[in-house]
């Protein structure tokens, strides 16, 4: 019997993320820059989910906007844009950060992992599977940030307790209130 807990094939394809060649070149990326009063632009090289990207960016472009608007990686969400909701969480190296609160130009030659990079060869990560099994989302807007934050959490603490998970996930808000399921999924994935 198929239940909503099974992973539909098209979801796997979507979660597999972008492929090589989908990253925009610096020339085409520039066309996406829409600012009222353009500031200075700077060359920025990033490695995103293992793929190199070379961009020319206005100094004001946050890492979040570079990912979404210049690399078309819209899995990372913009919620509050003030570091309060956690929807924009990505990994910088192996550390979780809020991509809205840092400038892309500050991360030249650094490695970023987004939600599109969590699944490997079409296989969802243990946390992604646990989120599905535990119904750890409703509307899904915060889910990418929750998953990236939880991935970073397990880089910091291998076997977190329920209390530790609750404390260490406090930077990710869920307006649907799926917190109990999110905690259960992280606990399951770390066991």
């Amino acid at each position: 019997m198929t239940t909503r807990h099974d992973i539909p094939p098209n979801a796997v394809r979507a979660l597999r993320g972008y492929r090589a060649g989908s990253l925009k070149s610096a020339d085409s990326a520039q066309q996406h820059i829409t600012v009222d009063a353009p500031g200075d632009t700077y060359p920025v090289k990033l490695t995103v989910n293992g793929q190199p990207a070379a961009l020319m960016l206005d100094s004001r472009v946050t890492l979040l906007d570079a990912l979404r608007d210049h690399l078309s990686l819209t899995g990372t969400k913009k919620g509050c844009d003030h570091g309060q909701c956690g929807a924009c969480t990505v990994l910088l190296g192996d550390r979780r950060i809020k991509s809205c609160m840092t400038l892309a130009v500050m991360h030249n030659n650094q490695e970023v992992t987004t939600i599109e990079g969590l699944a490997k060869s079409g296989n969802l990560s243990r946390l992604q599977k646990a989120f599905i099994q535990h119904d750890a989302f409703q509307c899904g807007f915060c889910t990418a940030g929750q998953l990236m934050s939880a991935t970073g959490l397990l880089n910091e603490v291998k076997k977190p307790s329920t209390d530790q998970i609750r404390e260490l996930m406090s930077g990710n808000l869920c307006r649907c209130g799926a917190y109990p399921q999110i905690v259960a999924a992280i606990l399951d994935a770390s066991s």
Binding site: G39, T62, R95, I97, K98, M101, L103, E156, G171
Partner: protein, 327 residues
């Protein structure tokens, strides 16, 4: 966000030169506060000097005390084994700060330089003397539940938001400052200035200077210290009241004590009288209550923040009782 130029400093000297240049240049490290302020239109630097390339992130505890580089990330300091063991209040204050993601980004220097969370400072539609000198204070007669009960003025009743600064004041830490005209060291408790008529001036740091490190002296009290933070929710929230306390006990008697309060004043609040009344006294609630009364001496309530006076006294009692093992 207003347009700005960006450059990455490769040496401390070049960073200081850029900061000394005319035209409103500012340093950026973690960016978690300054970018927020830039998005809100409160901070409009002509150029950001990215100092993340400087080698200022070391945490050195080999000499007994702790020297923490200005670029050390909050999470790295908080989880440092020697900081946890010998400067407990510092680690606890950092773990009670912001969220895990922000603690991975934010730096020690930036934490000390963060601006107030007073809602009228952060909302440009309202007058605020700190944001726009001589425009007025909206908090004094406004929604002032979070405002100061100590150290405020007719011009400003904002509180300082840092947890780390409170712990550092309690432990007698100092800030190492580099400048194009030389280096100097300032006690954290002398680093912040009260608002008076000039609330836009918050610290003694000049615009051509950079915080390079924080030094915490070792002491028996620092190794027996605590940070207690009281807030509206259990995590990821600024304090209503916080207490950093350190006690050196001789049996049941208090040999030395250090206490600082957060969330109640424009800077971490310390009272020498409060520490003096504890020395030589039994580690008991009666002594702690006398210290709390001394620390809150002169506290005045605005319309909505009177609860902070009792809350601060209770928090002081609980923090000291916990250290004394009688909580």
């Amino acid at each position: 966000m207003q347009p700005f130029a960006y450059s990455k400093a490769t040496t401390q000297d070049s960073a200081l030169q850029s900061l000394a240049a005319a035209g409103g240049n500012m340093a950026i490290a973690g960016g978690t506060d300054i970018l927020d302020l830039m998005k809100l239109g409160i901070c409009t630097p002509a150029r950001l000097i990215d100092i993340n390339g400087l080698s200022l992130d070391a945490i050195d505890t080999t000499a007994g005390g702790a020297t923490i580089g200005a670029l050390a990330r909050l999470n790295d300091v908080a989880h440092h084994a020697q900081i946890q063991k010998r400067f407990g209040a510092v680690s606890q204050a950092l773990l009670a700060s912001a969220s895990a993601q922000i603690r991975n980004m934010a730096t020690v220097g930036g934490n000390l330089m963060q601006r107030t969370r007073c809602p009228y400072f952060r909302e440009t539609a309202f007058p605020c003397n700190k944001r726009t000198p001589n425009s007025g204070c909206s908090a004094r007669d406004g929604i002032n539940r979070g405002s100061s009960i100590l150290g405020g003025s007719a011009s400003c009743v904002a509180v300082h938001p840092s947890d780390l600064a409170v712990a550092l004041v309690a432990l007698g830490a100092s800030i190492a400052i580099a400048g194009s005209n030389g280096n100097r060291s300032v006690l954290v408790e002398d680093f912040y200035v009260l608002p008076g008529d000039t609330p836009h001036i918050e610290t003694v740091l000049r615009t051509d200077e950079l915080i390079v490190a924080v030094s915490v002296p070792k002491s028996a009290a620092a190794a027996h210290s605590i940070y207690l933070k009281v807030r509206d929710r259990a995590s990821f929230e600024f304090s209503l009241v916080s207490v950093a306390a350190a006690l050196e006990l001789d049996g049941k008697l208090i040999r030395s004590a250090r206490i600082a309060l957060g969330g109640v004043a424009p800077r971490p609040w310390r009272s020498l009288d409060a520490e003096r009344v504890l020395v030589g006294k039994p580690a008991a609630q009666k002594s702690f209550a006398a210290a709390a009364d001394a620390l809150l001496d002169g506290a005045t309530a605005l319309r909505l923040n009177g609860f902070k006076i009792g809350m601060a006294k209770n928090a002081i009692g609980r923090a000291l009782a916990t250290l004394a093992g009688i909580a």
